[in-house]
Structures are given as C-alpha cells and as structure tokens.
C-alpha cells in the first residue's frame, strides 16, 4: 500500500517584512495588544520550513517510494494559499482545517486540531512538519502532535528517507549530524539544512488550480479545550544602540584604531 505522508504547513507573516517594519519603528500593535497592525500590509506566506517539509516529502517520492502526499493546514480562509502552494509543488490532496481563531500562537490547540485531522484521515504513516513557525518561533507543534498521535518524533531533520518499515533521518544536532531510524507512525520536523525547496512547475500550478482542498470543521474535530498557552500581548523591544564610529583617512588607519579601541575596552588580547 502506498505510504501516506501528511505535510503540515502554516501560513505566517513574512518574517523578513516583520523584521524591516520593526527596524524602522513601524511595527505597531493594535488595540487588542495581541497582534500587529501591519497584518494587512506584510504578505502572508507559507512558513519556509514547511515548504522544505514539502520538499522532503517530494524527495521521498522521487526516490521511488510509492506514496501519497496530503498537505494539511489549520487556519482561516486565507490559509488555503499554503495548500495551493503545496498542491502546485506536487501534493495529491489537501485538507483545510477551517479555524477562525485568528491567532496561531497556541501550538497546543493547533496540534490537537492537526492530530484530530490526521486521525480522521485514518491511514497516515508519516507527518512532516517544519522545525518551527517563523512567526512565534516556538516549534512546539511537532512534539505535541507526536505525543497526541502516540507517534515517534524526530526533530530538526536535514534528510528524510523511507526504509522497509520506517524512516531514516539525518538530524542536525549541536554536535553535528546524527543518523536515526524511527518506526511508523512518525512525526519528523524539517530544518533548512535540507536545502532549497523546488519551485512549482507550470504544469503543477495548472493541476493545483483544479483541485479543491477538503474542508474539516475545527469545532467538530476539537472536543475539549486542547490549549496550552495564550498570548497576552505582543510588543517590539528597544534596541539600544550606542555605536562608537571609528574614523580614519585610510583603511589601514581605521584598522589599527579599531584594534586599539578593542584592546582599550579590554575585549581583545592584552597586547
């Protein structure tokens, strides 16, 4: 039977956009204190790690494994854009868990919805996630999801392969690369070390337009609370800068003045 891979993909505000708004002092907070006012100006994109999780799924298929890939997202109506992206890249199916809860900060609630959706699909062998959302940088969903599905968990993958009866994953650890094998069902979170995700082909984009994601209702999936944390407020920290500029007529002069200044500040070799 074909291996059924689910790719969990999240829509996020483009982190580069948030970054530049923050740097230029234009990242302001709305009256709820819980979200940014730039929500409509900064584009919403597929979380880059999730695009790489999709890439990992496609590489498993490219390696000759008979598999079916379903893209899965939890979010409001606009979140279906990430499903279109995955379909265009080569997913067969897509499932949209329609959840109006605008804020995706509670990974526990999201994981509960994802777990329920995966259970509803019934035959899932492998769930590929991104290592973390580039919005809240939490990375809690893969772990909670594994726990709820009683599945094996492998985080921060640089390479994912299907074996006879499981997956072989190369993980990025602070000590270097580590190879592990996990039994199925498994949740694997993918990191940027896997490499750049392929762009959708023209053909893929055409195909994707014809496909309609299945819609699951969040209220039906989630009985009970399932939440773990809640955002009270968001804000932009002050970056206090006081930078001593090193001047000089020539690069040579500035180089030696810089090293003098560092020695004087006691941060560079006493000589």
């Amino acid at each position: 039977m074909a291996m059924h891979i689910v790719v969990a993909a999240k829509q996020v505000l483009d982190p580069e956009g948030v970054n530049s708004y923050a740097l230029w002092g234009r990242l302001t907070v709305d009256e709820t204190q819980r979200s940014f006012t730039v929500g409509d100006v900064i584009p919403r994109i597929i979380n880059a790690y999730d695009e790489q999780a999709m890439e990992a799924a496609l590489r498993i298929r490219d390696s000759g494994v008979d598999c079916r890939i379903t893209a899965l997202t939890v979010g409001g109506g606009a979140a279906t854009d990430v499903l279109k992206r995955c379909l265009a890249m080569g997913a067969e199916d897509a499932v949209h868990v329609d959840d109006t809860e605008s804020d995706r900060a509670d990974g526990f609630r999201t994981a509960a919805l994802l777990a329920a959706a995966v259970r509803k699909m019934g035959d899932v062998d492998l769930v590929l996630c991104g290592r973390q959302g580039s919005d809240y940088d939490q990375g809690t969903v893969p772990g909670v999801l594994a726990e709820l599905l009683d599945a094996a968990l492998v985080t921060v993958a640089a390479d994912v392969r299907a074996t006879e009866d499981g997956v072989q994953v190369v993980r990025v650890t602070p000590q270097g690369l580590e190879t592990v094998e996990a039994t199925l069902p498994a949740v694997v979170s993918v990191s940027n070390e896997i490499g750049v995700a392929r762009a959708p082909s023209a053909r893929g984009m055409l195909d994707a337009r014809r496909k309609k994601p299945a819609v699951y209702d969040s209220a039906e999936l989630l009985t009970g609370a399932g939440g773990g944390v809640e955002v009270v407020r968001v804000f932009v920290p002050d970056v206090q800068g006081h930078c001593e500029m090193i001047e000089g007529d020539t690069p040579a002069e500035r180089a030696s003045r810089l090293l003098d200044a560092l020695a004087k500040a006691g941060v560079l070799g006493g000589h």
Binding site: N19, A22, E147, G176, G227, M245, P251, H271
Partner: protein
C-alpha cells in the same frame, strides 16, 4: 502555596555544565526565590551533578548519560511535583519541552527572554519573529509551565565550592521507537560557542572566495570564523559556521560582523557578545544599532588591513 522549580540541565560535557545549563539554573533559582519554592535540578550523573549542587540545587536528580531524555525528565517532574520547569536552551527545547508539557497537561514556551511572576504563577515573554518582536504568554492549563530560555536570559549563580545535597538517581525506560544508528561525531577541536573572538562574514563579502579573509582574520586574532545564513545557503561557509537563531549561539568577548546587515535572526545568535564590531558600507544598516564599534566602509578593503595589523601585533606581542 509554595511553587517548586525544576531545572533540566542536560547541556554538559565531561568538564561539567555548559553555559546554557548554568544560565537555566540561575533563572530557576531566581524563580524559586520569588515563589518561595525549592530549586531542584536534573543533571547527568558525575561532575555536572556535583556542580549543580554547588550552584544551589536543593536536590539533584541524576541520570546516566545516554538515557532517554523525555522519560527521564517526565519522571523527575513527577517525583519533584514541580509546577515550573526550566529546560536549558539547546536541542532539547524542540525535542522534549513541548512533549513533556503535553504529557503532563501543561503548557510550554520556548525562547523566553523574561519571566514575570504574578502571585504564585508566571507569565513568559518570548522572542518572536527571530527576535524582532516579543510576545507575553500566559499558561491556560493547570499542569506544569515548561519554559526554555533565550541566550543570556539567566545569570549563572555564584558557586559554593564543596556544597553537596541529596541526590536521587533516575533510571527511566527508553523509547524503542527512535534508534540512533550513527551518533554525531563530537566535533574535534575548539567550538564556535566557546570562542573568545568570532569573526563573521555575510553577503557583503561579495564572493565565496573572500570568506578566506574572514578565516584569516579569525586566525590572526586567535578566534574562530562565523557566517550569516545567507552565505551558508550560498555555500561560501559551512553550516557549522552559521551564527543565529537557527545556527550557533556565540558569546565571545568580541564579535566582528563584516558585510552583515544585522537581521534579527542573525543577531539572535550573537547579541550577547561583550562587544560587537560592525563593518558595513551602508551607514543605515541595522547592524550599527547593535554594534559597539562601527566602521562605515568596504570590508574587502578593511579585512586585509585588519589581518596585517593583527599579525604585526601578535608577532610583537
């Protein structure tokens, strides 16, 4: 009601606890103090465990290196019935913290820069969008509040030489579902994380070959080379050299950023350096907001001069 705090201090070597672990113990001690509770520490048996005692742990839970971490931590959490669990930063954050919280019906926040004590509970402020912003989280369940700290968010406590304390050894069952086939080869030689001088380069180097200047200056200053993710993605530098949110967290005395714009995701890895030096052609580059010393100029002109002067001084040193 007193609220006890368990610190999970797994980042350690044969020489003892790593900075990530001692920072977590410092933060845990502060919280236990504020909440009138006890400080428990889970650490690998051996030197690290004795160090945890010297750093003020009321009781130390130990485990054999190589034991499965999630079940070990779960058992320590249950034995100590701690309401607050501080997990040291590192790989264990993504691997264990959230699963632990789910298992014990609690909540979890990673990348915590600050903890606010409110009555007998806490709220956690975490870095979001790579550090460009912050979110303050509250916990909605009754179970443990599991947090993991951002670099520099805790101050290691003073060490009381020779202090000992009660030790409870934990022997947890392993997880047969994940098997290590080939462990990471412990990197040989010095580690970027421990370097006193780090010289990093970014896209401003213009060409992969110019990364050689970064290596040479690092060598001349007795430090190590680092890189922005942009040039790691371009293949100019090695993944192990990446500094930042998803790279290495470095805390050198001096950090050189040559041709690096200063995106928050990069600064997340180096903002705790004692001094940051920025070299950038663009006077409005964000890096100058974080830097202590700055040169507006072409790094391809400045790096060779810095190498020359550094070598001269080392020779006459």
């Amino acid at each position: 009601m007193a609220t006890d705090v368990l610190v999970v201090a797994t980042e350690a070597s044969n020489d003892g606890l790593a900075r990530a672990a001692t920072e977590a113990i410092g933060a845990g001690a502060r919280l236990a103090g504020a909440l009138g509770g006890e400080l428990w520490v889970l650490a690998p048996a051996g030197v690290a465990a004795s160090e945890a005692a010297e750093l003020g742990a009321g009781r130390v839970y130990t485990y054999a290196p190589g034991a499965e971490v999630l079940s070990t931590v779960t058992e320590a959490a249950q034995l100590s019935s701690s309401r607050i669990i501080v997990v040291n930063r590192g790989a264990i954050g993504l691997d264990v913290a959230a699963r632990l919280a789910a298992r014990l019906s609690g909540g979890c926040v990673l990348g915590v820069t600050d903890v606010i004590v409110q009555g007998d509970d806490i709220e956690a402020i975490a870095a979001i969008y790579g550090g460009a912003a912050r979110a303050q989280f509250r916990f909605v369940n009754a179970g443990p509040r599991v947090i993991s700290l951002a670099p520099g968010a805790g101050e290691p406590p003073a060490r009381q030489q020779g202090r000992t304390t009660e030790v409870v050894h934990i022997e947890a069952a392993g997880d047969a579902r994940v098997r290590v086939m080939e462990p990471a080869k412990a990197a040989e030689g010095p580690r970027l994380e421990d370097a006193a001088v780090v010289v990093s380069g970014g896209r401003g180097l213009r060409d992969g070959e110019n990364y050689g200047l970064i290596r040479e200056l690092a060598g001349a200053l007795g430090g190590m080379p680092g890189a922005s993710r942009a040039i790691v993605d371009d293949g100019w530098a090695k993944p192990a050299e990446q500094v930042g949110l998803t790279g290495k967290i470095v805390t050198p005395d001096v950090y050189f950023a040559a041709g690096i714009s200063g995106a928050s995701q990069h600064m997340a890895g180096c903002s705790n350096a004692r001094a940051i030096v920025a070299i950038n052609t663009d006077a409005t580059a964000p890096i100058f907001r974080y830097a202590h010393f700055g040169i507006v100029g072409d790094c391809l002109e400045l790096l060779p001069e810095l190498i020359r002067v550094a070598k001269e001084r080392a020779a006459s040193g």
